[in-house]
């Protein structure tokens, strides 16, 4: 499957210079401001078989997130806490360069960064997920299913995951069996609503919510998750380029700002 990837790469290497020139001139091909998200459309509760779900369209990027609950044994070192597991599949439907197979480093990073934003914000009250200490706790499984990749999977998946968790409802649990066909009205015990904002650095330009073409041209990337109180709770820098300390600080402020906006419009 290698040559296809190279062809795709050749294509992008040809376009890259034009894209960079445009960006250096202060323009984005879709005329957005540097610190502006694309239009976001959410279809909550898209999958009724899941306990929670959300389909997101972030520009042309499409991701479907499903949340499933199960009852399991707690980890020995946290015998009274529920658990969270986040997985990502970059299924080949979403891009000519995605391949079927075990998760590669990109899908692992996607899952871990989304997980980190949720976990470190203390969004979920894991102690409230305990059924019987040491024996039974709820475990929450978040699956990120990428359907169309036009850039910034990290924020698209993260926003949809948070929304799916906000809407998720517990299934009935009786006689040690989860009855998935009967959902209760009980929602997850939540304490925060984290929002992830990703910035690409192209030359000296910084761009919120990069398009695929901007990602192909970028030097580096940083994803910053923020809490509803305006704190930072998770960061992931990516790419081989660098950020100055000033940029690190500036982007943290911008992420807090963007987070407030997203939270207000989509995650209430």
């Amino acid at each position: 499957m290698i040559v296809m990837e190279i062809n795709e790469e050749i294509l992008w290497s040809v376009k890259r210079d034009a894209i960079r020139a445009l960006i250096e001139a202060g323009k984005r091909s879709d005329n957005r401001e540097w610190n502006q998200f694309r239009a976001i459309e959410l279809a909550p509760d898209f999958v009724r078989k899941a306990e929670g779900s959300c389909f997101i369209k972030l520009g042309n990027t499409q991701v479907l997130v499903g949340v499933k609950f199960a009852v399991g044994v707690p980890y020995p070192d946290t015998p009274e806490s529920g658990t969270l597991m986040t997985s990502a599949e970059l299924v080949p439907i979403a891009s000519p360069i995605f391949r079927a197979g075990p998760p590669d480093e990109d899908s692992i990073e996607l899952a871990r960064v989304v997980d980190r934003g949720i976990r470190e914000s203390k969004m979920i009250d894991f102690d409230a997920l305990c059924i019987t200490p040491k024996e039974e706790v709820w475990s929450v499984m978040v699956d990120l299913h990428v359907l169309d990749h036009d850039g910034n999977l990290l924020d698209a998946a993260s926003i949809a995951a948070v929304r799916a968790l906000l809407d998720a409802r517990f299934p009935k649990y009786e006689d040690k069996k989860v009855i998935y066909t009967e959902k209760t009205k009980k929602k997850l015990p939540l304490k925060d609503v984290p929002v992830s904002s990703t910035f690409a650095k192209v030359g000296s330009a910084l761009l919120l919510d990069p398009l695929l073409e901007e990602e192909k041209a970028m030097d580096a990337r940083v994803t910053i998750a923020t809490t509803h109180e305006g704190n930072i709770c998770a960061i992931q820098k990516g790419g081989s380029g660098s950020f100055t300390l000033e940029e690190c600080e500036k982007l943290a402020s911008e992420a807090i700002k963007a987070g407030k906006e997203i939270r207000k419009q989509h995650l209430k």
């Binding site: 499957m1 290698i2 040559v3 296809m4 062809n7 898209f46 999958v47 009724r48 078989k49 899941a50 779900s53 042309n60 499409q62 479907l64 499903g66 949340v67 499933k68 199960a70 997985s87 599949e89 299924v91 080949p92 439907i93 979403a94 891009s95 000519p96 079927a100 075990p102 998760p103 499984m141 699956d143 299913h145 359907l147 169309d148 990749h149 036009d150 998935y180 066909t181």
Partner: protein, 247 residues
């Protein structure tokens, strides 16, 4: 078919979801829904939701899988982990590998593979929500996605199942009927000739019942084929409109 043959699945000639025995579930088809894929189709069939995408014809890799005389057809049926009640582990299991195989075989002689030597035509089907009948839904959507990608084909393949529920032959078995019914017979056909490209049976049918179920499934296929054609027409009309507006 756990096939306990429960007898309360059809009451006063109506099935639990209100359908008559020979009635299809509602089917909605939309072509051209993805940006990156060369062709795509979103399809809802009762509670089933599937998405199909086609990439190609493109270079076949790894190279040793290239065929000097025709394109390779790849078909991957995949269920999202949250598409079923008990979360499914990501990745192919034995069931999905079997479905991918029989679905690929159903398409292999319909696509003009000989037009594209050494190439690959890759069909990916994602089941987003499953409620019995996903192999038929997936193959039906894949066919539309192939047409949407402009891949030349002899015909639009279409699939539908019939089954035996409550001792009666019915069309298009749903999840409850699949769990408690007596037989499920999914088929795929070439609509122009009625030839059978895919056929599987789970459950017991007497020869006469088998004959009746086959006929009913073919009728279901013909109805769904109408909806496939409508979806493709809609897509091209939209494109034409967009073209006119540009002018």
């Amino acid at each position: 078919m756990s096939g306990k043959g429960k007898t309360d699945l059809i009451v006063n000639g109506k099935r639990l979801d209100g359908r008559k025995p020979e009635e299809l579930r509602p089917v909605k088809i939309q072509a051209g829904v993805l940006k990156r894929a060369d062709g795509s189709c979103y399809l809802e069939w009762g509670e089933n939701k599937v998405l199909a995408a086609v990439f190609g014809p493109r270079e076949c890799l790894p190279k040793h899988e290239q065929d000097p005389y025709r394109a390779r057809l790849l078909y991957r049926y995949n269920m999202a982990p949250f598409s079923v009640e008990d979360r499914k582990r990501p990745g192919p299991d034995r069931r999905s590998q079997e479905i991918s195989k029989v679905s690929r075989e159903a398409l292999e002689r319909v696509v003009f593979l000989e037009n594209f030597p050494k190439a690959s035509i890759d069909v990916f089907v994602e089941v987003l929500q499953a409620d019995a009948g996903t192999r038929c839904a997936g193959l039906t959507a894949a066919s539309v996605a192939l047409a949407d990608a402009g891949i030349p084909m002899r015909d639009i393949v279409v699939a539908c199942a019939a089954g035996k529920v409550d001792n009666e032959i019915v069309l298009d078995v749903n999840k409850i009927e699949d769990n408690d019914g007596q037989a499920d017979l999914p088929i795929a056909i070439l609509p122009r000739t009625g030839e059978v490209l895919l056929m599987q049976l789970d459950g017991i049918l007497a020869p006469e019942e088998y004959k009746r179920a086959l006929q009913l499934a073919v009728e279901g296929c013909m109805k769904v084929n109408e909806l496939q054609r409508n979806a493709l027409r809609e897509k091209y009309e939209k494109l034409a409109d967009a073209g006119e507006q540009k002018e």
